[in-house]
């Protein structure tokens, strides 16, 4: 039926369509190749010529105490400069005279910035004289937001401000050396700032954009990744308590002529460090105000021989391993004795030969009696007990914290065989001593000390610090016995120790009512004449806010 006439146009149509389709196919393949297959490559190539980015810096997180009092925070400050050339142009513009002539403006600027107006004018004039085309003259650095608002309100076109972040420590030297500080570039140098950098440090964001000719940003090409501010670190420290103790240790150390002193307060039930006071310390706001030796906390980094404070550890070892009770057996001890192996041990005070029970030896703090008691068990047992009480183990992982030094028993010589019974020939830090006493006060359960409560991310997610390790290191009965001794000898030594100003009557209350539980363990140490000697068994003080237990 189809005629030649109708067949021919159809063929033409088919051929044309095929050609068009094949060309279209080629284009589609190319398009897919460009847009999908090698898209990234092309984008990357184009960005070399077009793209640019700026970094958006986030804010470093703050450090707060147990109650949320801010101890360290980041604030924005402004560095101001001016363009003397532009100022001159505005000043000499006769068609459009400035609303605020320089003579007046400079007075206002100086007033806001706390400068001398005459010096400011002279400085700008000198800068212009030196180089009439100069466009930069530094006015003042580190001005605050109030000053920024005031200066902006002057509406002077030749003033410019660069903002930058700086660190402020609202409580000054309260726990200053524990909190630490940053260097000029914002890198943590010491203390919590360094220890918790991971939590505190912000993640910088960036803004990328394409530029056209002359560097004009192509609208709609901006892509912004917001900066994530640093998290906020909560400490276990109570800043008010810390301030009070810092004030006390400073007065006390100076009254005693000591070179320094520390007070550590640990919550018995949790092992949390509630105060870490030391003198001398540093105000991180003003490092230059104190000597560089006090910039870094000595609390965790200075190890010393604890002396008599570690006699209870020896007592625990012999009570649990040699069947010694506080009242039997007795050993005879004079104030200076030569031991069969050649060692010579002295007591701190002269006394005739006494028959000491363990309780008596602890109360009189007799080194000789303790040496005799201590050697009722093998050195390995005592070594084990020293380790259990935390000697030789770091406490909270403070920057440059020392673990102290505990020599293996094979290195104990004739003298140190005995001196290790009363806290010599090994070294501890103040928090380690506090940790040991925490275990005694907590019924023999040692809880690892902690200084960090939590880290709260910028988005509010709270990361609690890992639960501290708890370990029953001595029997509860042993701990109860040692506790009772502690309270009595503390009361006695308190009276012997003038100069201490922790309330005396509290000691009496503890003695009067042994049912009362200690909530806080306070350790006080004074450095003396270069060396570091522990203060006497220091005071035990109840939390100021606690009710009497009944």
């Amino acid at each position: 039926m189809t005629t030649r006439a109708t067949r021919s146009p159809r063929r033409r149509t088919v051929v044309a369509l095929a050609v068009i389709l094949s060309i279209l196919g080629v284009f589609i393949v190319r398009l897919v190749d460009i847009q999908v297959v090698s898209a990234d490559e092309h984008v990357a190539q184009s960005l070399v010529y077009l793209g640019d980015k700026t970094t958006i810096s986030g804010q470093r997180g703050s450090i707060v105490d147990a109650d949320g009092t801010v101890l360290a925070e980041s604030v924005t400050v402004y560095d101001w400069n001016m363009d003397p050339k532009a100022m001159n142009a505005v000043e000499t513009d006769e068609d459009n005279p400035p609303k605020l002539p320089w003579a007046e403006a400079s007075t206002k600027i100086a007033e806001i910035m706390g400068l001398n107006a005459d010096e400011l004018r002279a400085g700008v004039a000198a800068a212009r004289e030196e180089n009439p085309d100069t466009q930069w003259y530094q006015l003042a650095k580190g001005l605050n937001a109030k000053q920024y608002t005031d200066l902006k309100a002057l509406k002077l076109p030749y003033l410019h401000a660069d903002s930058r972040e700086t660190r402020v420590y609202p409580n000054g030297a309260v726990a200053g050396s524990v909190i630490g500080f940053l260097d000029g570039s914002g890198t943590a140098q010491a203390g919590i700032e360094k220890m918790e950098t991971q939590c505190l440090a912000p993640t910088n964001g960036e803004e990328t954009y394409r530029k056209g000719t002359n560097g004009v940003v192509i609208p709609g090409s901006e892509q912004k990744t917001d900066a994530v501010d640093g998290g906020s670190v909560q400490l276990t420290i109570n800043s008010d308590l810390n301030w009070y103790l810092q004030q006390m240790i400073a007065e006390e150390a100076q009254a005693q002529g000591a070179q320094g002193g520390t007070v550590t307060v640990v919550e018995v039930k949790t092992g949390k460090i509630r105060a870490a006071a030391e003198w001398p310390t540093v105000d991180p706001n003003n490092l230059n105000g104190s000597s560089p030796s006090s910039w870094y906390s000595k609390l965790f980094t200075y190890a010393f021989e604890p002396g008599s404070t570690f006699k209870p550890v020896t007592a625990a070892a012999i009570m649990e391993n040699a069947g010694v009770t506080p009242t039997s057996p007795t050993v005879s001890a004079s104030s200076k004795e030569h031991f069969p192996n050649g060692a010579v041990i002295n007591d701190a005070f002269a006394h005739p030969t006494y028959n000491y029970t363990l309780a008596g030896a602890l109360i009189d703090s007799s080194n000789v009696a303790l040496s005799k008691f201590g050697t009722m068990v093998s050195p390995d047992v005592r070594y084990d007990y020293l380790q259990r009480f935390g000697v030789g183990t770091k406490t909270v992982g403070f920057p440059s914290e020392t673990s102290g030094e505990l020599h293996p028993t094979s290195e104990w010589d004739n003298q140190s065989l005995y001196t290790t019974t009363f806290g010599q020939h090994f070294t501890v830090t103040a928090p380690q001593v506090a940790g040991a006493y925490q275990a005694i006060a907590n019924g023999g359960e040692k809880i690892d000390l902690s200084l960090i409560e939590s880290c709260t991310d910028a988005d509010g997610t709270v990361h609690k610090a890992a639960d501290p390790e708890k370990k029953q290191i001595i029997k509860p009965e042993t701990a109860a016995e040692l506790n009772a001794r502690e309270r009595r000898s503390a009361g006695r030594q308190r009276r012997a120790h003038q100069g201490s100003r922790l309330p005396r009557d509290e000691q009496d209350r503890y003695r009067a009512d042994p049912r009362r539980q200690r909530r806080l363990q306070v350790r006080r140490l004074l450095h003396e004449h270069g060396g570091l000697r522990p203060g006497r068994r220091s005071a035990v003080r109840r939390d100021r806010h606690s009710r009497p237990a009944d």
Partner: protein, 189 residues
């Protein structure tokens, strides 16, 4: 009649021999005269186009307007942020325990020693049971003072150009005015 004629036809057809009818060429029926396009459609289309155009203009106006609002709000936000930080900066340092203790001691208050406790169940008093002594247990202004450099600038600024100068000025101002032109009369408006 015509009714009869049509009625008759079927009677005839079956009688005719079943032969395929020869195809006949017939002229195509004349296409119906184009109807006049309805005005309503045109108006609808035009109206639609206009509506789309108007909506687009409206939307872009709204977007522009919003971006202005956004700009003004974010500048307001910036101002408020600045005010907030300015106010917070005023508080910084003042909230520290040193500042509190120093101000309290300036008022003649003392830092008390041991606290006393009242047991609610039987009204028993524990602790010292006396008031605070006349001396502070710590001296916030002494050699043991815990430093806070944030507190120094306002204090010294006050001391230098604040109260001292003002006091001198106000003291002279507070002298009764010399009566030269008769008794001074209050200015009324």
């Amino acid at each position: 009649m015509s009714l009869n004629a049509t009625a008759r036809k079927p009677l005839v057809t079956p009688a005719a021999p079943a032969r395929a009818p020869r195809p006949r060429l017939t002229p195509l029926p004349k296409t119906a005269a184009r109807r006049k396009p309805k005005l309503a459609y045109a108006l609808t289309a035009l109206g639609g186009a206009l509506a789309i155009g108007a909506a687009q203009i409206g939307l872009s106006l709204a977007i522009t307007q919003d971006s202005y609002t956004l700009a003004s709000l974010s500048s307001q936000q910036r101002t408020l942020d600045l005010q907030t930080s300015a106010l917070q900066e005023e508080l910084t340092g003042l909230s520290s325990p040193q500042a509190l203790a120093t101000s309290a001691s300036a008022l003649g208050m003392v830092v008390a020693g041991a606290p006393s406790y009242l047991r609610l169940s039987d009204g028993a008093v524990f602790g010292t049971g006396t008031g605070a002594g006349w001396a502070s247990t710590v001296d916030p202004n002494g050699a043991g003072a815990v430093s806070n450099s944030l507190l120094v600038p306002p204090a010294s600024a006050d001391a230098n150009d604040g109260p001292v100068a003002d006091d001198a000025a106000t003291q002279t101002e507070q002298l009764p005015p010399a009566i030269t032109d008769g008794l001074p009369s209050p200015e009324t408006h």
